[in-house]
């Protein structure tokens, strides 16, 4: 695998900055990485001597593990910074934190933060490339890439596919990044959820369809993605109860029948079984939910490899 220069040193804030061709290139690279992950000895020396920092200012064990595994398998050194046990809770600014980390010689940052735009700040203060591991409800490009990879691997292409995403669209960074990437790869995307959980102007901003009725949204879908419904939304007054939400928006045998017979079922996790998805669907033949997690490591390896210019 040869490194294409246009990836070297680049940030991954969101997928806006990446062309269709570049996204496809990343998917190809991830395919190679996935093979490595299936070996008995899951490690290549390509990023030896590079230091990657996972800077997590919002809890996420799974995403952090995925980034760290990806870095480890490329033989990079990994340091982990978690705000819950760190100086950020003592009032240190993100700027000072990044200056401190920078002094230790970090080559690449993978950041998770509850504030939209914080990856841009980390880049501004560090001068180093940054991979956004989720910033508030703004973007989650590695999740989108792994979702897209999972579909691409199964179906060969996203061109002309009908993809339906169901749930709390308002608070989902996964949806926002997926919409950008999926549209670039030629898919038709429909988002579905109650009006109180639907941000304004979705059609204009993303060129997607908006549906409030689940059966209509699922009609003829090739891919169906459920999103995690969080309890906090109920106390925010956006819907009355999980039970009522579930009655209208759960992915079940009854509702999924409106989609194509062999439609892929996806979920970025963690799942609320019985709320947005029933076990019969989450664990069913069409589900690729577990594979998505495996693909996450491959996608993150591919990005680290391309950005840091690893040697094949």
């Amino acid at each position: 695998m040869s490194v294409t220069p246009q990836f070297l040193g680049r940030n991954v804030f969101d997928l806006d900055d990446y062309s269709r061709a570049e996204i496809l290139y990343i998917l190809e690279a991830a395919k190679g990485m996935k093979e490595i992950n299936l070996r008995e000895y899951k490690k290549i020396p390509t990023l030896r001597g590079k230091t990657i920092c996972t800077l997590f200012v919002e809890d996420s064990t799974r995403t952090r593990m995925s980034f760290e595994l990806a870095a480890n398998r490329l033989s990079a050194d990994v340091v982990s910074f978690q705000a819950t046990v760190s100086s950020l809770q003592k009032g240190e600014s993100l700027q000072d934190t990044v200056y401190t980390l920078g002094a230790m010689g970090i080559d690449l940052y993978c950041i998770r933060h509850s504030s939209p735009g914080s990856p841009q700040l980390v880049h501004k203060y560090s001068g180093k490339p940054v991979i956004n591991g989720g910033d508030g409800r703004h973007a989650h490009p590695t999740q989108a890439l792994l979702d897209i990879f999972s579909i691409w691997e199964k179906l060969g292409s996203l061109d002309g596919l009908k993809i339906t995403i169901v749930g709390d669209i308002l608070n989902s960074r996964v949806v926002r990044s997926n919409l950008i990437g999926m549209k670039k790869l030629g898919a038709e995307v429909t988002v579905c959820g109650p009006r109180t959980l639907m941000p304004s102007g979705m059609e204009e901003v993303y060129g997607c369809k908006v549906e409030y009725n689940l059966p209509r949204a699922l009609k003829d879908a090739d891919v169906v993605m459920g999103l995690r419904m969080q309890m906090e939304r109920m106390t925010d007054g956006l819907f009355p109860s999980l039970e009522e939400y579930s009655k209208h928006y759960v992915l079940s045998k009854d509702t999924i029948k409106y989609a194509k017979k062999d439609a892929l079922i996806m979920h970025p996790g963690p799942m609320n079984r019985g709320v947005e998805i029933l076990p019969e669907i989450a664990d069913g033949k069409q589900s690729i939910i577990v594979e998505q997690v495996a693909n996450g490591v491959a996608i993150r390896m591919a990005l680290m490899f391309l950005i840091l210019g690893g040697k094949a």
Binding site: S114, S115, P116, R137, S200, G201, V205
Partner: protein, 423 residues
Amino acid sequence: MKTLIKNGTVYLAGKFRKQDIFLDGTQIRNVSSKLDVKAVEVIDATGLHVFPGFVDIHAHLRDPGHTYKEDIVSGTKAAAHGGITSVCAMPNTDPVVDNIASVDYVQRRAKDLGSCKVYVIGAMTKKSEGLEISEMATMKSDGIVAVSDDGQCVQDAKIMLNCIRYAQNFDLPVIVHPEDYSLSGKGQIHSGKVSTKLGLPGINALAEEIIIMRDIMLAESTGARLHIAHISTAKSIELVRDAKKRGVRVTCEVTPHHLLLTDEACIGFDTNTKMKPPLRSEKDRQACIQALIDGTIDCIATDHAPHADFEKIKEFDHAPFGIIGFETAFVALYHHLVKPGIVSLERIIEAYSLAPARILGLPNNEIKKGNAADLTIVDLNGESTIDEDFILSKSKNTPWMGHTFSGRIKYAIVDGRTTFVDQ
């Protein structure tokens, strides 16, 4: 002190004319096409424009309490640099200006050390908590020109009604920062396409419009005067336009940033595009411009809101709301609205010099014999580059950092005293 301003293009009774102006002491002694008097100082204004000094009725000088952001000395210096000769200071300092000791402090500091006149706006409720009416009559006898809980909009309609009626009793204008907090909530920027894309919580335009609707109705039912601060949406303007037609005694102001920028400026997460009310849509911006032209919007005010660098470099949703405005207001408006022929220079002067003084009952500041010598002299052919060195304010939080505007303030003169001169 006697000063002769020679050969300037002077704004007189709505028109520009070549005139000389003779200042004697604190007053304008004479305005005429050719004056030959022995003056101590002569300002050659050939090629320059002379305006009645700008009057900014909405500003935060941060003094007392937040003097690391700004103080009365730096704030009035920055104002003079922007051609402003009178500033109205909002009371949201620490302590809140809700008592005569605080009013005295601001007035005395400004009188002793200020580079422009400072008029004090008193808090409408005690500590601006929105619960009990402040001693506004006592503060008025001490010199306040209006009452406002700017930035702490009174949410309880009954309390607001009482404030309006009580202020009416003492002929004090009430200034409202219209914001329903149940609707604006944790919002960071205007609720619309940009907030959807950036994943930032939106501030619904309704948060502003519902309070404007409420307060117009309160003013209408009482016959009291109401001034609406920094109007920003097309619907808000419609509400004011209709109210004025019905004879409600309502006036409103707009900021330069709401006339010149939209929420698109927030893409890129520059915290110097974060303020309240937020930058709105292009449709709203166009409505603001039209309303300024047709007079629905009465005046321009900066809402100068300094914040220190260490506060503004934070994550977008952790940074405070507000931007500075004194030093960019006129040149930005001249560059983007006057020069391209969208708004006349006369209208800007009317809305930024004369109307604001009228609205708050400040002394008439037209350029004429007997009036205070409060003047701004501007070189419309010059330019201003907004950078760290240009800005005299203690804080540099402006979305226009690095921009170059046509127009340059050459002099600010307050009571006959030159408070700013472009060296």
